[in-house]
């Protein structure tokens, strides 16, 4: 069950331009979380910014009761969060949302990470490794400097294939372009995607074409984070009927073929 708690910052440091890694003591979350879930973070004790900020669960260490976040500073909230020091506490709600559906043990799966979208996928690949899946991770970024988590994926025994927009590392181009060339769809049981909306849309289209099931992790402006306010609406098509779902409570992970993209 999700909880509200004050979690102590254990470590926080930059890992890429404007990108921070933060470790928090949050045993309850570490114990309960599944990959794809998120925490709703109060970035300031004052009323500015007013709302919490959703951040994916990047990794957990259950034995140590540690929760790790990976976030990009894009505005007020994330900037304030990045200023926290070890020993400070951060108010969290979580774990929240519906995570990824795990495949059958030993399956061959593809994972597509675009930019900061890599954040929740490390926890996922950790679990996939536990399930002895054969994992290929397609990691994309603007350039080499902004590439995230490629090392972590490799350490988890995944095959890592890299794309950068400027070609400063790996394939020169986008993750969908790279996947189109590299991926053997016939042997792929499942594909997990997190990244910019356009990238998720493109990969989803490819998956539908190839008839491979996939899951995407969506973002929407959030209020409550618990399903009460209906801010985080997304259109989901199921058996031909479109209904409005909540990213926070019905997602953030949705079947790739069900998302109404525009």
């Amino acid at each position: 069950m999700s909880k509200v708690m004050d979690a102590k910052v254990l470590a926080v440091y930059p890992v890429a331009p404007e990108t921070y890694y933060m470790e928090l003591a949050a045993p309850d979350i570490a114990r309960l979380a599944v990959p794809g879930q998120f925490v709703h973070v109060r970035c300031s004790d004052a009323q500015e910014p007013l709302l919490r900020r959703p951040l994916s669960i990047h990794m957990v260490s259950r034995p140590q009761g540690v929760l790790a976040l990976l976030f990009r500073v894009v505005g007020k909230g994330t900037a304030l969060l990045a200023q926290r020091q070890p020993g400070d506490s951060v108010n969290l709600m979580g774990p929240l949302g519906r995570g990824f559906t795990l495949p059958l043990p030993g399956s061959k799966v593809a994972v597509a990470a675009g930019g900061i979208g890599a954040a929740p996928l490390v926890f996922l690949v950790q679990e996939l490794a536990n399930l002895k899946c054969q994992v290929t991770v397609y990691v994309g970024a603007r350039d080499k400097k902004n590439l995230l988590c490629d090392g972590q994926f490799a350490q988890l025994d995944a095959e890592v294939v890299i794309a950068t927009d400027d070609g400063s590392l790996g394939f020169k181009g986008t993750v969908p372009e790279l996947m189109r060339r590299h991926l053997d769809w016939r042997r792929t049981a499942m594909c997990y995607v997190c990244g910019p909306r356009a990238m998720m849309q493109e990969v989803s289209a490819m998956l539908s074409e190839a008839d491979v099931p996939g899951e995407v992790s969506l973002e929407e402006k959030m209020g409550c984070g618990v399903g009460a306010c209906l801010s985080c609406a997304v259109q989901i098509q199921h058996h031909g009927e479109i209904s409005t779902k909540r990213v926070c409570a019905d997602g953030p992970v949705f079947p790739s073929w069900q998302v109404v993209w525009e």
Binding site: C224, A228, A249
Partner: protein
Amino acid sequence: MKPNLEVNIGGILMKNPVTTSSGTFGFGQEYSPYVDINKLGAIVVKGTTLEPRPGNATPRMVETPAGILNSIGLQNPGVDYLIDHYAQYFAGLKTRVIVNIAGNTVDDYARLAAKLDGVPGVAGLEVNISCPNVKKGGMAFGSDPAAAAEVTKAVKNATGLPVIVKLSPNVTDITVIARAVADAGADALSLINTLLGMAIDVRRRKPMLGNIMGGLSGPAVKPVAVRAVWQVYQTVKLPIIGMGGIVTAQDALEFILAGASAVAVGTANFINATATLEVLAGIEQYLIEEQITDINELVGAAHR
């Protein structure tokens, strides 16, 4: 000695004056991992319409200084679904459940009231004639005294439940609407709904919200809400549920002193899931400190 906290909102006996504001607390269930909702005086659930509604385009929420704009647009599964899927749950709660209703026509309101009449677990209706986020109905009813009175009468005629009418602050003189609604038979008033506002994305040069305009809530609106309660308390004798920017017990006490018999916590739930219970505890502590034995003595005390 424990002070008396019970208040009577037009026939709804609340064991304490703290409730939730419609649309910010779902159907209660969403917050039950965090709050023992049975400890609240009442909960007010999401705005319910005759037919299911998908709501407005996203983005539906944007932050503003000390506030938020929302343009949810009354997304809800419809009254029949509510009755079929939630009534039983409501009936099992140890708190009062007030259903917020909204329609496009006077007849919609009457039909909603009739459908909810006698539904187990429903303690009263809050009639939303003040939603700024829908094209038809909503605020239009709340800004014209004749229309507001007509809706009130129609609802009163269709149900035996206590009827609370929720007023909009987006009017020239809220006391005129309050009086019209009181004369039409309302049992209580809720105020305020959100203020009509908007925000613009300077980079995209477009409105931030999918629906362009939205409703402003949160601490920013508190002074407007307290003023509305103050004015309405001077005008009509009905009990008032005060809301708009309540975060702390101090905020809630401002409303009570201005004339509210109960208070609803809205936006603050998003930031602090236990805000309602903290407000309640703070009110109780204040009563003890100030040696007031009954919360009702405090209602409107700043007028005296």
